[in-house]
Amino acid sequence: MARSLTRRVVPLAATLIAVSFLTFLLTSLLPGDPAVQILGPQGATPEAVARVRADLHLDDPLLVRYARWVGDVAQGDLGRSYRTGQEVRDAIGERLPVTLEIGGMAIVFALLGAIPLGMLSAYRAGGGVDRAVTGTSFALLAVPSFMMAIVLILVFAEQLGWAPATGWVRLSDDVGDNLRGAVLPALSISIGELAVYTRLLRSDTIATLQEDYISLARAKGMPTFWILLRHALRPSSFSLLTVVGLQIGAIMSGSVLIETLFALPGVGRLLVDSIYQRDLVMVQGIALVVAVSYVVVNFAVDIVYTYLDPRIRRGRAAARA
């Protein structure tokens, strides 16, 4: 166990170092001086720019700056934003819950729809229901989430008034208002995922339904929905869980467009604003957090396969890792 842990942890650490160094390198290559951004055009006199650059050590060689940053990170210090003076750690800490809640809710919505639809269309594979579900999920895949967001705002916020267009409320402030504010953005994201999940679950369930124990259950005269729910769902949700797991990593980085359209204080917007305003420390911090979460989630998914699933098909797990 300890050895296998080391064997896994070393490449993970290497990944993190590679990602953070690449981010460092690429953001330094971006044209546009961070000091000018901080001072604004009105304040960017040559002396002021020189002073700010010196304060931020922007004139040091790249490797020196990277080494300094790594040293700080090792002590738990992600630095302070060039632009706002806020601790990068705090800034990310404020945004992450928003992004996670929207992303998590989107996954839940998608699963709530995909499980019945996927199983039903697998059970009736080739039939009318199946074709309807398949067609619908293709249609949903073809709707960009930003269009979905615009339409949802027009219909549910402006016309029907069921949910607010903007106005994020922290979960700790008011649970009801928080959920109302999260519904439309989560729905916009979940539409595409719903389609993918449905397709995945359908194909896996079709395979499961051909297994002997299902035929046995049928022969025993168990009710259909009981067979589907009790016997077929769990073994069929293998690919689904893999994909959901992988997406948790992607969700951490948020969706810029959805967050902008709904004025959500999420990680995606922070990242893009920070890139645009050359807040390099912030970009660096976010890239690190996203990379860590990606790496950790994948690590966890691997562990879950190897140790928890008794029906694991090894080749498949390895292939997907």
């Binding site: 490449p11 590679a18 690429l26 989430s145 269009m147 999940y197 051909q210 893999t242 467009l257 970009v283």
Partner: protein
């Protein structure tokens, strides 16, 4: 697609591609073998139409897509302007026709780059395994864990927002997905009886890889390419919203939607027409791609 920062569809793609692992059994027990339905043919016709527009846009009898005519701006569809005009009074139909070219080039290039490079790498890694596989997967992990938007912005800042750069960057960022899929398929196929048999009979490794394994990996990956093209087309739209698509005045579907958004309350057709074109194209790609995939799966089973 490995541009996780941009769009959830992009994430979804990773998942969708995951379905073509060897375990996927799309043809259900009840599915009857039959010809393609009218929907399939409608989709094929639409795609051919889009491809035709993209190829011959310059020669088609449509007005200059970049010629503004402010007097006629935001026009509803009329006899003169079959699909209306945009905020500058430019002909929506002709912009749509020329925009098809961008959508087609971006999606074809990005998917081919991702598929060829990623597919090859994945196959080699899955077949030879060992240090090459380990190193490759490490690199792949780095790309996946890296904020793709940063790379895109740097490239665009240095090379300019040309069609080529955007296509190649998206292609590059999608390499990991194809690598994973190709590797997964290779791993599975390599364990199949016919490969084992060829191996025992003394076939060379190169022969094994290219004659026995490759055909079984390429087909499912290629069949999925059409669906992936749809994803890239949507991604172009997302990039246009961020102002990161091909430079104006070139018309792109995403750019048309983004420019039309601010007229949504007064002249919704400006954004809706290109949205509909994008929707129909992606939908058609999904339908046709899925149908082709089912075909290939059947052949694979016969092997």
């Amino acid at each position: 697609m490995a541009v996780p920062l941009l769009e959830p569809e992009a994430h979804a793609e990773g998942g969708a591609l995951g379905t073509i692992g060897p375990g996927a059994v799309p043809a259900g027990p009840r599915s009857r073998r039959r010809g393609h339905g009218p929907l399939f043919w409608a989709a094929v016709v639409w795609l051919l139409l889009v491809a035709f527009c993209a190829l011959f846009a310059t020669w088609l009898p449509v007005p200059d897509p970049n010629a503004p005519n402010v007097i006629d701006k935001l026009s509803m569809p009329t006899w003169d302007h079959p699909l209306g005009t945009d905020g500058l009074g430019r002909e929506t139909l002709s912009r749509l026709v020329h925009g098809a070219r961008v959508s087609l080039v971006v999606s074809l290039t990005a998917v081919s780059v991702g598929m060829v490079v990623g597919g090859l790498l994945g196959m080699v890694a899955g077949f030879f395994r060992g240090w090459f596989e380990a190193a490759l997967m490490a690199v792949i992990n780095v790309i996946l864990a890296f904020p793709g938007l940063v790379l895109l912005l740097v490239l665009l800042a240095y090379v300019g927002q040309s069609l080529g750069v955007i296509s190649l960057t998206i292609g590059f960022l999608s390499i990991p997905v194809y690598t994973r899929v190709a590797r997964a398929n290779t791993l599975a196929v390599a364990q199949r009886e016919f490969v084992m048999a060829a191996h025992t009979m003394g076939a060379s490794r190169a022969r094994l890889l290219f004659r026995e394994i490759a055909p079984n990996v390429v087909l499912p990956v290629a069949a999925f390419g059409l669906v992936a093209m749809g994803v890239v087309i949507v991604l172009e739209g997302a990039l246009a919203f961020l102002g990161l698509s091909v430079e104006a005045p070139a018309s792109t579907w995403g750019g048309m939607i983004a420019e039309g958004k601010r007229h949504l309350s007064t002249a919704p057709q400006v954004a809706l027409v290109p949205s509909a074109a994008m929707f129909l194209t992606v939908l058609s790609l999904n339908f046709v791609g899925d149908a082709l995939r089912r075909k290939f799966d059947v052949r694979e089973a016969n092997l």
